[in-house]
């Protein structure tokens, strides 16, 4: 049943956003529980968990931005607009009657304007969100350096790669 309903759940943006909140909250809760086991008070454990997690609001925004970008409705609309535009071009090319070519022009305009509106919508939505810079190196806080070797002479990354 999940297999059938699953893809359609993605159409509901609010549901997707709620699931992101739930996922992040689950992680924060487990971190807090872990800190409590190490004899921290509940408040201290929560504060430490937030510190370990990072900027919750910014991470949530980033996840929402990525999820929205992949919203099936947006994909469907983009394809529809592309078909409308191509349809307009075909009508314009193969028809010589004024009224029909005018329809082709309108279809092309709808295609271009639709894409422009989608682009503006995305730009407006992400204006207040921090855009991750894919070209920038990932920033990590480390007690030691990336090339800190263990007893076998492996770096931390090599240890993860060689773990079974």
């Amino acid at each position: 049943m999940n297999l059938l309903i699953g893809p359609f759940r993605r159409f509901d943006s609010r549901r997707v956003h709620r699931e992101i909140d739930e996922e992040l909250q689950f992680h924060l809760d487990l971190l807090t529980e872990e800190n409590c086991r190490q004899n921290l008070s509940w408040d201290e454990a929560q504060a430490t968990a937030r510190e370990q997690f990072g900027n919750v609001a910014q991470i949530r925004d980033e996840c929402i931005r990525i999820a929205d970008r992949n919203h099936p409705a947006i994909w469907a609309l983009k394809w529809l607009l592309a078909f409308v535009f191509v349809g307009g071009v075909l009508v314009r090319v193969f028809s010589h009657e004024f009224h029909v070519t005018r329809v082709g022009d309108i279809l092309m305009e709808i295609g271009v304007l639709g894409r422009l509106l989608l682009y503006l919508r995305g730009a407006t939505r992400s204006r207040n969100l921090k855009e991750p810079d894919d070209s920038a190196p990932l920033k990590l806080t480390s007690h030691l350096t990336l090339t800190a070797y263990d007893q076998s002479g492996r770096t931390p990354v090599e240890r993860v790669l060689s773990s079974k």
Partner: protein
Amino acid sequence: MHGGAIDRLKTQMTKVRTDLMQGTLELLILKTLSRAPMHGYGIAQRIHEAVDDLLKIEDGSLYPALYRMEERGWIASEWGVSENNRRAKFYRLTKAGRKRLAGERANWERVSQAIGRILETA
């Protein structure tokens, strides 16, 4: 200044900011998921255990990476029930993800080998 604040400042100062090559976190996630499907917290714990706190990765930074990887088709997610009976989102590696892991791993080994040679000879 408050004693606690001084301690926090000292801790901050002793920490060294390290730039990790882009894609390394993704490589670590892919490798971790190659063992078994896991939720975000599990992935973070597994990475922390493996690196013995030599690298401090902010747990939250995993999530945008996970969402981007899912967007690229390297991993897939499904809601399930965690070991403590709570609803959790589990991630698993896809066929494309396995292919990507093999490629990234070979790339990492080639780069680290090259850097190692330079460090030995220079």
